[in-house]
């Protein structure tokens, strides 16, 4: 059972969680895009990191419940995938 996606049959909120997760991932992608485009500008990078830390809380409350792979460290997209 481990690592399987939760389906509507398992859990009444499955559809809602999937929809919420899509929005959470969109925020995350946008924040990473912002960081990449910032060219080292701290005013952008550091604020984007804060958005990503908050986005991780959204993942804890939404995405982690769907069974999707988790990112542990919010500030990077290349060291935490397990």
């Amino acid at each position: 059972m481990m690592g399987t996606e939760i389906t509507r049959a398992d859990f009444p909120y499955a559809e809602l969680l999937t929809e919420l997760d899509r929005s959470v991932q969109a925020i995350k992608e946008a924040a990473f895009a912002l960081k990449r485009a910032a060219g080292g500008m701290q005013a952008v990078e550091r604020n984007a990191d804060r958005i990503l830390a908050s986005t991780r809380m959204l993942e804890i409350n939404v995405s982690d419940l769907t069974g999707r792979p988790r990112t542990m460290a919010s500030w990077t997209d290349d060291d935490g995938m397990l």
């Binding site: 969680l17 830390a53 809380m57 409350n61 988790r70 542990m72 460290a73």
Partner: protein, 444 residues
């Protein structure tokens, strides 16, 4: 969404147990792997025990993961990456918060958190404050000087996150804090049980009755077990005319448990963010059934800077028989944390938990502050209980003391030497009260 008025996250807080266990196991595997890959402390421990994270297949495998305790954490600190040492899992420049334990049981332990971890701390507290009825309309007063300890910092951040108005009450003396309560009319407050009672006592000397003259209707306690001790809770609730709630947490763990508005006599484990395992005090066997005490081994499922994986909290707990009427599927510990494995001591051959004495003393409204001292006279243990009685006490003191000794004998199976002191003689504590002193170990 249904339940949004009662639960911070209605989906996970009412999730069917089977699904909740799946989520927990998936997250547990991830944090164990993270610790193994990024913490030299955890890798060394796991390698030494012949454990690898890929062995975690089913629920019962969780018990295979080696435990960590405070001694491990003390052993690694003050080394590189300074001062946290081998348990730090992130580059040092990702650490934004330093806290340390109070050092009550030995050398203080340093704790480094990333900003993500700090967001997570606030998330833990948001679950608990929402469960205790706090809402954006509350004005919350924190009569506490925030400092190097974690106490109430995360509560402050959570209250802000939830939209409350936060009044920081540090660097004020008790009188000034009471006047501020009168001036600003906060609806909620957070403090240690000892300080909650001390403030009420002080307010009365100022001619202010907290229950009638102040607007605090909700109090959350931390730092000591008092809010889960029925007689102490009752005394606080009567003094303030407020509901008093308990919560459980620790610097190295996070805020892992909370009492909800139902006040069902237990503490919910926040099973969205923590995995709680209870082990028999003697055998270490996993305890799943209600009614049997054990020590809490706990994992913070989402804390990454310095992970807390299978941490031996030394808290003594017992699963409750019935689920809570609040509708949460998060399990309950009956009576909260009922003691500390390192606090429970043998006196005259009988196991004694200091909280059992507090429960009895606080059930007698006449007594104010108290302290307990265990000494050795020759080969015999002796317990002295010192109590403050108000100067104007007009009851029969001998009868009162006789009832107290009788109740203590019933609850703890021990006899006590009782000394009555004048009101105001014993120290008042703002953080962790030290009322139980075992002087046998220091040659007393």
């Amino acid at each position: 969404m249904a339940g949004s008025d009662r639960y911070w996250n209605p989906i996970v807080e009412t999730m069917p147990l089977e699904q909740l266990r799946e989520v927990q196991l998936r997250k547990f595997r991830a944090i164990v792997s993270w610790a193994y890959e990024h913490s030299r402390l955890h890798r060394a421990l796991y390698d030494e025990a012949g454990f690898r994270p890929d062995r975690l297949k089913v629920w019962s495998d969780a018990a295979l993961v080696p435990k960590v305790d405070k001694a491990h954490m003390r052993g690694i600190q003050r080394k590189d990456p300074f001062p946290y040492g081998d348990a730090l899992c992130v580059p040092l420049d990702r650490v934004t918060e330093f806290r340390q334990t109070s050092g009550t049981t030995g050398q203080a332990v340093y704790q480094g958190d990333t900003w993500q971890d700090w967001e997570w701390w606030a998330e833990c507290w948001s679950y608990l404050l929402y469960a205790q009825g706090y809402r954006a309309t509350d004005r919350v007063f924190l009569p506490f000087g925030y400092n190097i300890f974690v106490a109430f910092w995360a509560a402050h951040y959570a209250a802000e996150k939830m939209g409350m108005e936060v009044v920081p009450g540090g660097v004020l003396d008790t009188e000034a804090r009471i006047l501020k309560l009168q001036e600003l009319r906060p609806t909620a407050m957070m403090a240690t049980p000892t300080y909650v009672l001390g403030m009420a006592e002080k307010a009365k000397t100022m001619g202010i009755d907290p229950a009638d003259d102040l607007q605090v209707r909700r109090i959350t306690c931390a730092g000591e077990p008092g809010a889960s001790i029925p007689s102490t809770k009752q005394r606080m609730e009567e003094a303030w005319g407020a509901k008093v709630y308990d919560h459980c947490g620790a610097t190295e763990i996070g805020a892992w448990g909370f009492e909800c508005e139902e006040q069902s006599g237990g503490i919910h484990v926040n099973e969205a963010l923590f995995l709680a395992q209870v082990e028999d005090l003697e055998t270490g066997e996993l305890v799943e059934e209600p009614g049997r005490r054990g020590r809490l081994i706990i994992t913070a499922l989402d804390r990454i800077g310095m992970p807390c994986v299978r941490f031996d909290s030394k808290d003594v707990v017992e699963w409750a028989e019935e689920p809570c009427a609040c509708g949460r599927t998060f399990r309950l510990f009956k009576g909260g944390v009922v003691g500390r494995a390192d606090d429970i001591t043998k006196v005259k051959g009988v196991l004694l938990a200091p909280s059992a004495i507090e429960e009895v003393v606080r059930s007698f409204p006449a007594f104010q502050e108290f302290e307990v001292e265990v000494t050795k006279k020759g080969d015999l243990d002796q317990i002295t209980l010192r109590l403050e009685l108000p100067a104007g006490y007009d009851g029969d003191q001998d009868e009162l003391l006789s009832q107290l000794k009788h109740q203590l004998r019933l609850n703890t199976n021990l006899g006590y030497r009782v000394e009555v002191l004048e009101e105001g003689t014993l120290p008042r504590y703002a953080l962790k009260a030290k009322r139980f002193k075992d002087l046998r170990k220091v040659g007393g």
